[in-house]
Symmetry: C2
DNA sequence: TACTAAGTGGAACGGCCTTCCCGCTTACCG
DNA sequence: CGGTAAGCGGGAAGGCCGTTCCACTTAGTA
């Protein structure tokens, strides 16, 4: 009877009875495949295609992660670490306003780099404990950052933490709509957003150039296919 | 020979041989059903569900509109008229900057009022002649509006027409993400965007309040289900 | 009124997805 | 080693979607 360490107390997903070596290897392959597909296609890719990409049976996938949300949780832990870390870094900056602007730019860039992650930042996954913990932590730190940034006089007084969530939703929209037809369009948005958040005299990074009309049009055409963003709520 | 009883000789789609009375009635029912479903669920609802909602057979639907794009074109003609009209109205305003701000607010509101239309404004449908004509017209007028608004000194010099497309994509993202859990979140975004576009002293409408944290969180949870935005490219 | 072609809905089909199940393989412990 | 249960893959069943075909209905005309 392999009855190793404590039973099921790791947050989030499945039983935690320590996998057999080959099983663990498969688990890893699934995570890699999912990371790849989520990144390029968005959350919402079929579980079947994840299994196919990982070269495992469909059964193996759902045995390891019985809901899509579990898979998402496992895939994006690292990214959420980076996300939470960004707020910490921002707080560490001696100039809170510079910390603020860089934080905004960093998290927008994180969204742009991974389409699935862009969605993760704008959705809540109640059962994904790990993700939600990181999100909460970042939110806390961000509140403090706001307080300090306002004290410099460069951040608008009416700015609130939830504005950043709205911004992330907006940015996700731009990223989903432009895809790789206009891969830098999001920079233009984040440039605008910083200008919206800043008070008149505040120092700002230079405004990124707009995407070319041609690229934007290509993006509008290309757009259309598979942007499900679906989560498949746990049953 | 059936007479040409104004059954809308809309360009673009199907044969235009004037439908029989009952067929025309069905066509209308399909359009109503599609308008309703596109508005609440987004483009991307299954053609089958449109047929069901319209109480016609699936065959009837695809006989009348052989591609989803045709249906979209027919459904959104009026909305696109309003859209193009908004730019005209803006040009008619003696104060170009006020015309500009109102135009921005109006088109964002149009997106918020109809989820399908929000998608239409950020996608191109090469085969949907009617829609594309209106879009082009609006774009032209908007260029002129920009020119005049810059002349007032209230619009940033580095603003370009394509910025409004990026903004529409962003707004569509917010609308898709918040749905009716936080139905006014988009106003906050448009408020930010106007502040981003304006030069320091420019007169602006008051900043809309942010959505409540509670509503935003509900939106993040609720989000996830079926926001396909898909178009089903014509084959 | 009677005829005919335009118009109809449902059945059938192929594709893709998910979930469940079952017989085979193999890692690991003794 | 060798036995055993953990782990595996794929097939079956069931659900939706979109398309196509076909026998029936009915609007409009003569």
């Amino acid at each position: 009877m392999p009855k190793p360490t404590g039973p099921a107390d790791t947050p989030g997903q499945q039983s935690e009875t320590a996998l057999r070596a080959d099983a663990e290897r498969n688990r890893e392959r699934i995570l890699e495949a999912a990371r790849r597909l989520f990144g390029t296609e968005g959350l919402g890719v079929s579980m079947a295609s994840v299994a196919r990409e990982a070269c495992v049976g469909k059964a193996t996938l759902s045995r390891r992660f019985d809901t899509r949300e579990d898979l998402i949780d496992a895939v994006f832990v690292d990214r959420m670490d980076d996300y939470a870390e960004s707020a910490v870094e921002a707080l560490a900056d001696p100039d809170p306003w510079r910390g603020f602007t860089r934080h905004i730019e960093r998290i927008c860039a994180m969204q742009a780099a991974d389409r699935g992650f862009a969605a993760v930042l704008t959705q809540a996954f109640p059962t994904a404990k790990v993700i939600e913990a990181r999100r909460a932590k970042s939110y806390q730190d961000f509140q403090e950052l706001i307080r300090r940034a306002k004290a410099t006089g460069h951040l608008r007084e009416d700015f609130v933490a939830d504005d950043v969530i709205v911004m992330l939703m907006a940015n996700a929209g731009v990223i989903a709509a432009t895809g790789d037809a206009a891969p830098d369009a999001w920079r233009r948005l984040s440039g605008h957003m910083l200008r919206a958040f800043a008070t008149p005299g505040a120092p700002l990074p230079p405004m990124p150039p707009p995407p070319t009309t041609r690229d934007l049009y290509r993006a509008m055409i290309r757009y259309g296919r598979p942007s499900p963003d679906t989560t498949g709520t746990a049953s």
